[in-house]
Each structure stands twice: as structure tokens, then as C-alpha cells.
């Protein structure tokens, strides 16, 4: 039990010397999956960052509103229902077309199509539309996607800030 609680010990914070970033975390309008968002929030918070979690089934308009209000350092979209490449494309197109949010770093991850296998065409398309990174989760490698996301944040922490 105690091993689970190390990060709560006040005199031994898990937070590193890196500056804390503020993330808006969300799914897309048609995706009702929630555990990916709950777990990702905890992981990002334990990385030392602040997370505003908008939850599942968030319409594009509300997502943009929240980004304008919260002024995050980065938008993270997590989606696993297979419509992510379509809904995720709508999100990034709206974001890049918005005068205030056009420059906001944004990444997307999860199971992006309905066929389960990693699809490099979907990934290339989402990058071309304006995502700064795509973390495709294939069968059984969600841990790898999280690691890639950690590396992305670590490598870009100064530019994100």
C-alpha cells in the first residue's frame, strides 16, 4: 500500500525541477470513453503539471472556449472509440483557424481508427492538419504511447512554456 503513496509525501515531492505546465485535456465529441482521461490526468499531475480535464463527449465549440479561458500551454486530446481521426481532424482544423488559438501546441493520442492497427496514413493526415504530435495506441502498447508523450513533453518543455 505505501508504495502507492510515495508521491504524496510532502517532504519528498515527485515533481522535478522542470517548470509546471498547464494542460487542457479532453476527448472529442463522439467519444464517451473516460478512463483514458482519468488515468492521463493523474499521470500528468504526477509529472508535476496542472491539468484541466474537460472529460468525454466535448463539442468543438466548448473545447475552444475552454482553451481561450484557461490559456493552457498545450491541448491534449485522448480518444479511443475509433472516430478520433475524423473528430480529431475537426478539432485541430477549428483550432488552427481560430485567431487566438492558432498557435496553441496540440497533440492527440489513442486508438484513432476502427481497425485497431496503427495507421501511418491517419497519423500523417493529423500532423498535416496541424497537430504537433500524434501518439497512436495500437493493440497492447498504451504504455508506449504514454512514454512517447512524456518524451515529447520533456523535449518541448521550454517551447511549450
Amino acid at each position: 500500500m505505501t508504495t502507492f503513496q510515495i508521491e504524496q509525501t510532502p517532504d519528498r515531492p515527485a515533481v522535478s525541477a522542470e517548470p509546471a505546465l498547464k494542460f487542457v485535456l479532453s476527448s472529442v465529441q463522439s467519444d464517451s470513453h473516460m478512463w483514458n482521461l482519468v488515468a492521463l490526468q493523474l499521470i500528468m499531475e504526477e509529472m508535476g503539471h496542472e491539468v484541466v480535464n474537460l472529460g468525454a463527449c466535448v463539442p468543438v465549440g466548448r473545447l475552444l472556449e475552454a482553451c481561450r479561458a484557461e490559456r493552457p500551454d498545450c491541448l491534449v486530446i485522448s480518444t479511443i472509440n475509433g472516430h478520433g481521426h475524423v473528430d480529431g481532424a475537426r478539432v485541430i482544423s477549428a483550432l488552427r483557424a481560430d485567431a487566438v488559438l492558432a498557435g496553441l501546441p496540440a497533440v492527440i493520442g489513442g486508438k484513432l481508427g476502427v481497425h485497431g492497427d496503427a495507421n501511418s496514413a491517419l497519423e500523417a493526415e493529423l500532423l498535416a492538419l496541424g497537430y504537433d504530435a500524434v501518439f497512436h495506441v495500437g493493440a497492447g502498447d498504451s504504455g508506449q504511447a504514454i512514454e512517447s508523450f512524456r518524451e515529447f513533453v520533456a523535449a518541448n518543455i521550454r517551447t511549450l512554456r
Binding site: 473516460m34 463527449c57 475509433g82 475524423v86
Partner: protein
């Protein structure tokens, strides 16, 4: 008015009499030809099965224009776009399957248009609920969903046939919700349906992580239904584990088999069965049919149901929550949103804006779900209530979420 029993509830009642478990897939394809092939395959599988038409995410969220665009441009959806395809196409699905029961499964917080098309297509069974299809599956305010579900349930109640409506309340977020709350939510949603005149309902429960605790929950649900829904046709439905599923075929098969044993030992009438492809993608027709056959064969090997346990913590928690919620207002349309506003009901880890979000749940060393923090829920410590002050860490949450994977998947070096 005496209405005819729906094909669906008549089928379940007949198999209850024969003491055979009814099995059901979670099947939905965007292409009507594939959907039709799937229903025919289930009907012809040689097991006591009901068919399923699971709808896609756009239809679920009322974005029928997007569903229609996807059909036109040939983009596959994650389910059957019932509304965009229209009633004539759907009526065709079952045109030459007389007497074969089909349930429309959708996940919508506002299902009026779905139910309208479903009824026009000649289908008479669906599922969901004002809470269970709002909190996990939408960002629609709970009061809006409750009003919409009031209209939707009344629409079903007004038909010539006694339409069947199943509560999804026993499946909130699929995992890590303590059984006392799952049982209470499922029974409360069935009561909500009955309040609107629906005369055939089922209460659901999703397999969790402890067979003993799950059996207590199913018995508690049966007892509460008998006490509260005696004037309404009702049965119990179990879902094979809805959380993170084993990735190995052997692990997935074992978890399905465990759900079958659980269903049979508790006299549960219907089981919604998962497949070995669950962790990876949307299963094929063949994978669904072989899962149904496996479930049926496993059920035949089980001994008859045992005796129900006496007083259990699950029953006491559920009974208390049902009574407290009903005391809030004269109707459940009002009482359910009020209960969430006051934190009297609060689903752990649920991010919906109308959920309190104060409660947490963890697994204990025996794999039983335990409250970690019951927030403002009226559960005293003697009934399992707890006010944990530490937060549940990501490590522990991820370990709890992947419990069955760690238990049933082989360790890869």
C-alpha cells in the same frame, strides 16, 4: 389496456422457465448488409441468443448529419447508424427473422429520435437510462437527460406492445464503481421506467473483480427488484467485464467463462457476452458467434443456482441509497438529478459536470471493490462508508484498472 408482450421479454421469460441462460452479443456494424449478416448469424448460432443492433457514436450523440456523411463517403463507423439509415432499411434487417428478439443498444442521453426510428422499424426493445447514459456518455446536463428520458420512456410505454427497456445503471464507467452503488442505480432507473408506464424492464450489473462480491450484488439486485418492481415484468442481466479486457485469447476466454459461472450460480436470466477481440478492436460476426457458443456451452456445465445469501453489505448500501433518493422528490425525474446535485449519489472517477466527483474506489487484497472515499454519500462506516484523505495515485489506479489483465494474461518476457 392489456398489451402484448414484446418478442424480447417473451423470449427471456420462456428461457427463464426452462432455466437456460439467454446470451447476447454487443454487435454493431455501419454497413446494413454486415449488420443483417450478423443478426442472421446470431439467430442461426444454435444457442438461446437475442440479437443486438449497437449504434454508432455519431447517432448516439445526435449527430445524424455526420453519420449520413460517413455512410455516403464510405468511412466505417463504430456501430449502426439507425437514424441516418431510416426505418425502412432497419425493418429489412429482421424482415425474414420472425420471432427473433433484437435489442437496440445505443448510449444516448437524449434517445427520442432513436426510439422513434426503432419503433417505426418494428423493434421493441432497448436500453439505457437517464443517469447511466448521461453521466458516462455525454456532457448533456443531467436534468436535460432526465426530461428527455421521461419523454422517451413514455413513448415506449404508449405502444400497443409492451416494449422492453433495460437499465444500463449497473455498468457505470464499466469498472471501479462499488456494487452497492451499481445495484442502487440500476434499480432506480428501472423504477424511473416503471414510473413512466414501462411494463417490462431489466436491471443490469457488470461483472467486476470479485466473483463472491459480484454474486452478492446480483442477489441484492434480485431481492431489491422483487421488493420494488413486483408489478412489473422484470429480469436481471449481467455483462461480462466492461473494463480493460485481457489481451490474450486464453485470458479473454477465461474472463467470459467466469461471467457465465457467475450468471448461472445467481440465476441471472441474460448475459451480454464479450469476445476475445475485445481488447483490440470491434469484433467480427464470427468472433461474436463463437463467444456466444462458448458462453452457452459453459453455462450448460454449471450446477443449478445456489441459495441467496442473507443480509449483505451490498444489499444494505443499495437499499439505503434507493430509499434516500426516493425521499428527495415525488418523482425520480426530479429526485435523480437532485441526488447528484447533493452528492447523495456520486460515481467514482466520473468526469461529467453534474457528478460530484468526490468519491473514489479501490480494490482490496482479495480483489473486492471497496470505497476509498464516499464523499457526501449517506453511507455510514458500518455500511462500508469511508472518508479517505489521501488521493488514489496513478500507479494504484492503473494497477486496479488492469486487475484482470495482470491476473489472466501471460507474463511476456
Amino acid at each position: 389496456m392489456t398489451a402484448a408482450r414484446s418478442v424480447f421479454s417473451a423470449f427471456v421469460a420462456e428461457h427463464r422457465r426452462r432455466r437456460t441462460l439467454v446470451v447476447q452479443p454487443r454487435m454493431g456494424f455501419s454497413d446494413p448488409a454486415a449488420m443483417r449478416r450478423g443478426l442472421h448469424a446470431v439467430a442461426g448460432a444454435g444457442v438461446p441468443a437475442v440479437g443486438t443492433v449497437t449504434l454508432d457514436s455519431y447517432t448516439r450523440t445526435g449527430q445524424h448529419d455526420l453519420a449520413a456523411m460517413s455512410i455516403q463517403s464510405g468511412v466505417p463507423l463504430n456501430g449502426y447508424p439507425l437514424v441516418a439509415l431510416g426505418p425502412a432499411v432497419t425493418a429489412e434487417l429482421v424482415a425474414d427473422l420472425p420471432g427473433f428478439p433484437v435489442q437496440v443498444r445505443h448510449g444516448s442521453a437524449q434517445p427520442e429520435d432513436i426510439f422513434a426510428v426503432m419503433l417505426e422499424s418494428g423493434l421493441d426493445a432497448s436500453e439505457g437510462g437517464p443517469v447511466s447514459y448521461c453521466l458516462p456518455y455525454s456532457s448533456v446536463p443531467l436534468r436535460t437527460a432526465a426530461k428527455s428520458w421521461s419523454r422517451s420512456a413514455s413513448l415506449l410505454a404508449g405502444q400497443a406492445v409492451d416494449c422492453h427497456l433495460e437499465s444500463f445503471g449497473g455498468c457505470m464507467l464499466g469498472q471501479l464503481c462499488p456494487p452497492g452503488l451499481l445495484v442502487a442505480l440500476s434499480v432506480l432507473e428501472c423504477l424511473f421506467f416503471a414510473e413512466h408506464g414501462v411494463r417490462s424492464v431489466s436491471a443490469s450489473y457488470a461483472q467486476q473483480t470479485s466473483p463472491e462480491q459480484d454474486a452478492e450484488a446480483l442477489w441484492a439486485m434480485r431481492r431489491l427488484c422483487a421488493e420494488e418492481l413486483s408489478t412489473v415484468d422484470h429480469h436481471i442481466v449481467l455483462y461480462t467485464y466492461m473494463g480493460l479486457f485481457p489481451e490474450s485469447a486464453a485470458g479473454a476466454r477465461e474472463l467470459v467463462a467466469e461471467s457465465v459461472r457467475l450468471a448461472v450460480r445467481t440465476g441471472t436470466e441474460r448475459l451480454i457476452v464479450k469476445t476475445t477481440a475485445e481488447a483490440h478492436r470491434i469484433p467480427t460476426v464470427e468472433e461474436n458467434v463463437s463467444a456466444l457458443r462458448l458462453a452457452h456451452a459453459t453455462a450448460l456445465e454449471q450446477p443449478a443456482p445456489g441459495a441467496p445469501p442473507g443480509e449483505t453489505e451490498v444489499y444494505a448500501q443499495a437499499r439505503l441509497l434507493v430509499d434516500e433518493v426516493r425521499s428527495l422528490a415525488p418523482t425520480l425525474t426530479e429526485a435523480l438529478p437532485a441526488a447528484f446535485e447533493r452528492g447523495l449519489l456520486d460515481v467514482p472517477y466520473c468526469l461529467h459536470p453534474d457528478n460530484g466527483g468526490e468519491t473514489r474506489c479501490v480494490l482490496d487484497d482479495e480483489g473486492r471493490l471497496q470505497w476509498w472515499h464516499t464523499g457526501r454519500m449517506p453511507l455510514p462506516p458500518a455500511l462500508g462508508g469511508r472518508r479517505g484523505h489521501d488521493r488514489v495515485s496513478a500507479t494504484r489506479l492503473l494497477a486496479d484498472l488492469s486487475y484482470h489483465r495482470r491476473r489472466l494474461d501471460p507474463v511476456l518476457s
